[in-house]
Each structure stands twice: as C-alpha cells, then as structure tokens.
Symmetry: C2
C-alpha cells in the first residue's frame, strides 16, 4: 500500500468531505464533517483528522470551498479573472495549524458578461479537477456549467478561467416551489415528465419574454384545468432550466459541448434541457471533480 | 341626503371593502371585513351589512374579486377575452342570499402574448372603474398596468379587454427579499435610491439576459464591497421592476402612456422605472378604481 502524503478537504457551507491521499492523489481513506458555516473550523478540522495524524504523522492539507469565505476558517481574497490553475494555487492562503501546513484555496471574481461583478468559491476547484481528469479541457475554448443553488456558467480558454456568470436557478426554483402560489402540492420534479418539456417549450417559443412573465403560466394552467396540479413542479422546473440555458447560450454563444460538473441527478435535468436546445454536453461528477481539483492544487502548491 | 340604492363589495383574498351607495354611485357609508379566503362568505357578508339592512332595507349587492374564486363565496367561471364591460357585467353570477340579489363578477381568462393561458380576478373590475372615471380610456388602444403580487399588463381596445400578461413581480421580489441570500438585512426599498437606479440600469444594459442571470449581482456587489448591504433591497427592486417593464414593452409595444392602477406607493415605484424607459404614464388609485368598477357593473346589471 502506498504512503499517505496529504489531506484534501472539500469544505462547503453545509458539509466537509475529507480525503487521505498518497503522493499521486489516490484516496487511501475518507472522512466527513460539518460545513464551514459552523464555528471553529480549526478545532473541528484537527478533531476530524486526529486518527490520521496518529497513524501517519501530521500531513499537509489543501482545502477548498466556503472554508475560505468570511464565514469559514480564514478569509481568502477572491482572485480576479482571468485566472490560470497555477495562479489559483498560488493565491492559496497558508495557515500554520499547530505545525500543519494548511493551504486554503481562493475563490474567483470577475466582471460578468452582463457587466456586473460576479464571484464564485468552490467551483474553481472543480474546474481545476476537470483539467486533471480530462487534460484536453485545458486546451482551446470551453464552456462549463456547474448547476446548483447558484449555477455558474464559466468560460475557459487555454486552461484559464476567463469570466463567468451566476444564475440563481437552484435557489429561485426552491423558493418558488416551497413558498409561492405556483407549485404548492405541485408534485416532484420528474426529468422525464412531459410537463417539464412543456415548460422548456414555452421558454423556447418566447426568447423575448423574461422568466418573470412566464412563471405565472404554471398557476394559470392548473386553474384553467390545462395541467394537473401534480405536474406543476416539473413544469416550473422546465421554465427555470430553459431560461437558464437560453440566456447562457445568448451570453456565451454556442461553441462545442457544454461541460456539466454536478450530481448525476442535475446532469440528467440539465442534459435534458440542453438536448432541447440541440446543445451537446458531457458530464463530470461534482464530488470527483472537487477531489481532483484539490489534488491538482496540492501538486502545484507542495511539489 | 340621497337614498341608499345598493351595496358594492371589493372582496379580495385578504380583505373586504364595503360601500353603501346611492343610485348614482356616490358613497354614503363604508365598511370593512375579512378576506374571501376565510370560510362562510355568505354569513360574514350578512353580518357585515346588518346595520345597513336595518336602516335602509335589504339592498342588492355587487361583489368583485376573489369572492368569485374556488376559495370564495361561489365560483364564477372566467370569462374569456376579448371582453367588453357589458359582457363582464353580463357574466356575473346571481345569488339569492336570503332575499337579497347578489351579483358576483367573473374573472377573465385569455391566451397571453407568450401563448400560455393567463387569468385575472379583481383587476377586470378596476379596469371597468378606470373607464367610468376616465371615459376616454374606453376609446382607442390602451395599455394598463396593475402592479402588485401578480402584476397584470392589460391590452384594451375600444373598451374591450383584448388580452393580458401576468408578471410575478411582487411575489418574486418578496420571496427573494425574505428568503434568498440576496437581500438579507438589505434595508428598505427607497424609490429615490441610487441603488434602485443601478438595478434599472443593469436591466437596460442587458436586454438579452434573463432576470435569472442578473439577480446574483445583488449579492456579488455586496460581497465585493461595491454596494452597501443596506442598499440591496432597493437594487433588487430595480432589477425586478426593470425586467417587468422591459419585457412588457417587448410584448405589448410602445403605444402611448401606460395607465397604472395601484396604490400611490407602487405608482411611485413603477413611475420611476417607466421614466427610466422614457415611457409616459398616468396613475389611478387602485381602491378608487375598484369602487368605480363595481358602480359601473351595478349600472349594467341592475339598471
């Protein structure tokens, strides 16, 4: 068995995923912990890796995600785009945690295609991971999409993150589903549902209408008996997904496949919607990408 | 003093406004009550007007709003557009309530400019009222906007409601303000705030970007220190207002002033945003319009 060399930590707002890795980045053991929003990241990290310390000595650690935000361990300033992998690794904040060398990766900032400022924290690590998993993605122009609470559309050129645009898709959908009149008792989202297709179709037929003027159709279709109440969540999901993709294609253009980095569930949903826009896509698992990004950063920082 | 002739009831989801009127529609007395969403509309109405019955005998009543929905007194089917005032009054549901002739006005349905079905209930009464208050509005082509939880943009031609489009503006703004990460502790909306103008400006600069891709700039501006936290609600309000108006102008075109029917507070906000789009506007008070609409309908039904 190969020797443990470092600890990688994918530390978001609501959870910590820990990996004990050998020098080549292979995973020897896994651990878990609470998110970065809970106080005392330093103490909780030390406790979470205590058994590994005992078995392997105090190993260096590379951490990415919200652990580097104002609510996390230590704030790491955003690195402004364009940003290459070496620059992202180089902007890590180094902390001496009781004799352990800890590197916390920065988030990225940019001026988005809309002209407004934008920020990300954690997704840059997943993009680094995509380059490690598929080195060809660090060549040429690439469009990434990282769906989630705040979906990130990211333009990459020759391995540098050029700029990105956040869409509030996940958060907006959940707010509308839970709290609005639109989809109360509206069933579960089914990525194979004809109702989802109807939502996507309405968006495609209305390139000039904002989501604001499309959303109420969810309610109107139910009230007029044209849609079953139970289909409302899927239909609403189609509206939000469709507008997310339609606007992203306007802002970034069509240029080869969209590289999705997310859970398999979200990949199925976004894949379905990208198909409706005749856009090819490829999917990379989000957790796998985050780990690969931390391994990538470790090689840049500690080698 | 003129003689009491009928009772007008503006009965929405959350409140009932009652007016004792003479034959010409002048108000002799006012009353209030709970919204149509509370059970037993019939019993509550009888109790609310009992004193007027004693003083004036049992008078006929005209009611409009959510009282005619499935959650109200009796469901009155939607009247499909185009709909003239006479047809709206003619589609009222007549109820004999213990010897009292009660007419409950219908809502309207249509296929909106997006091709999806749309519905309104209550706003049609306010538009009838606008015609009574300003008879010239029943001539030529007119564009009305009734801001609120579900804003209605309404195309009128020669006094007929041709079609309309609902924007989720009010409800979406409140959801985002209360529950999203965007405007927590984001201050109050100030219609004179430069932050509101910044929101409007971003929308104007991005006709191709959906609100979905503009909203996160609220958070990014605060996180990057470009906007005070306390300005977030006003900025967010500018984004939503701007997109509401920009899309409505695309869907309905620019054709003379927009006739706002709403509270003075909403008229100030929408007026500010319409100014930014160089669109003239005129405002009619929403409660005054609802009363005038009930008087208009009474004349059609009972005269």
């Amino acid at each position: 068995m190969s020797e443990a060399a470092f600890i990688a930590g994918d530390w978001g707002t609501s959870r910590l995923r820990l990996y004990l890795c050998d020098a080549r980045g292979s995973v020897l053991a896994r651990g878990e912990g609470e998110g970065a929003a809970v106080p005392d990241c330093a103490g909780r990290f030390a406790a979470a890796v205590a058994a590994w310390d005992k078995a392997h000595g105090i190993l260096p650690a590379v951490l990415g995600g919200m652990v580097g935000s104002t609510i996390g361990w230590k704030e790491v300033p955003y690195l402004n785009c364009p940003a290459k992998p070496q620059a992202i690794a180089g902007a890590a904040l180094h902390v001496d945690a009781g004799g352990r060398a800890v590197a916390i990766l920065p988030g990225l900032s940019c001026t988005g295609r809309t002209g407004a400022p934008d920020v990300m924290r954690g997704e840059e690590t997943q993009i680094l991971g995509a380059f490690r998993l598929h080195p060809d993605l660090a060549r040429g122009r690439r469009l990434f999409c990282l769906p989630g609470t705040h979906a990130k559309w990211v333009a990459v050129q020759s391995g540098a993150v050029m700029d990105f645009q956040t869409a509030l898709s996940g958060e907006l959908f959940e707010l509308l589903r839970r709290h609005s009149v639109l989809a109360r008792d509206g069933g579960e989202v089914d990525s194979d549902s004809p109702a989802l297709t109807h939502g996507l179709d309405l968006v495609r037929a209305n390139p000039d209408a904002d989501l604001l003027h499309l959303l109420f159709s969810t309610r109107a279709r139910v009230v007029t008996g044209q849609m079953a109440k139970n289909d409302a969540a899927s239909y609403l999901s189609g509206l939000v997904l469709g507008k997310d993709i339609a606007t992203a294609l306007k802002l970034f253009g069509r240029n080869g496949p969209v590289h999705l980095i997310c859970t398999p569930q979200l990949a199925a949903l976004y894949g379905r919607a990208l198909n409706a826009y005749d856009v090819p896509f490829a999917a990379i698992d989000g957790d796998t990408a985050a780990l690969a990004g931390l391994v990538h950063a470790h090689a840049e920082i500690f080698s």
